[in-house]
Symmetry: C3
């Protein structure tokens, strides 16, 4: 297990702008506020969702596009450093008019209808993502700079 003990940072409640790409919008917010490490959570609705399923064989996320309107029933994620930039990692559960759910790794192209997030920034040495040979993912690692 790789563990990072962090110190409490700032606390934000944010309302996301209609029409924005959810990952872009949050990444810009983090860059602007110099948030290098955070936990974040949100609810709302999306006009369109692109969710990824990680395929271990190809080492790629297979995108699943779900046309909206959709409720954003759950969105949980974190901010850490990747290539010396604030990187946002979010997983989401969307639900449709019948309540049916779609879940996965949130990808670019997911368009906000409405969104309310709580961002809890953390300070201290932020986790940094490095390529991980075992999974093919970019994971938090310590002292294994590639």
């Amino acid at each position: 297990m790789v563990t990072y003990e962090m110190k409490p940072g700032r606390n934000f409640m944010i309302r996301l702008p209609k029409g924005g790409d959810i990952l872009n919008v949050i990444e810009e917010f983090c860059t602007q506020e110099d948030i290098r490490s955070a936990a974040l959570w949100g609810i709302g609705a999306l006009d369109k969702a692109v969710i990824g399923f990680y395929d271990g064989k190809s080492g790629e996320y297979l995108p699943i596009t779900v046309d909206g309107p959709l409720e954003l029933a759950s969105c949980i994620g974190n901010v850490s450093m990747k290539d010396w930039k604030s990187h946002v990692h979010l997983h989401a559960v969307l639900s449709d008019r019948e309540g049916r759910c779609y879940g996965g790794h949130l990808m670019p192209g997911s368009v906000i209808f409405a969104g309310e997030f709580y961002v809890r920034s953390l300070t201290g040495s932020p986790p940094e993502r490095q390529p991980d040979a075992e999974t093919g993912l970019s994971l938090w690692s310590k002292g294994e700079k590639s």
Copy 2:
């Protein structure tokens, strides 16, 4: 984007009472403890769930009733001010005996079997909900009092 920087408030772990209406119970708790702004999360089980899907055309939540027993696989939300009162906004993912999921905006009529929530209150000027013409929703806004 509308952002609110908040200060850390109080921290509660709460066990919800069997048979209570989840939104009522949490709203009463917030009123009693004078919580005007918070992030909250919970897990548990429900005897019955009413989840809403927002229909942008009618500007109304279409209710979906799911009879229990159901696991409350996820519940994420926030507290902010609406009409000068503490207002609780929760989204939930429920799951049935086969693990099948139902998600959406939690509505009145959702009955607790068991529930364990973590409430993190925030202080400072709380977000306030105002009618939003673009979406038809009641959203956090600044200086646009209706």
Copy 3:
């Protein structure tokens, strides 16, 4: 309602080890760091999931095994005391290659592919689980030691 007001404790971002049993791994971490009370959240992917649906009649969790690979679309939970030990209670939503979701109470046998968790420990008198006659569950109670 049973409420516990807690004080802020330590903050951890942790990366779970591939191949580990998610409940074991987190329970060991809590024991090692002497975490008796916490809220925690995670995302990632599992090689296999065992999720439970609580059957009120038998008073047992019916296990549902879902073979992976699966995205861990949401994982929310808490740490409290049970039988004088740190006890981890997690609910999860998993999603498959088509984005289809499976949710419930996370059970032993759920195997990590990758996992990123935020653990917020809380201090003060931790909630303690005691058998609850009304639900058949082990719930937070005060002064009703069995």
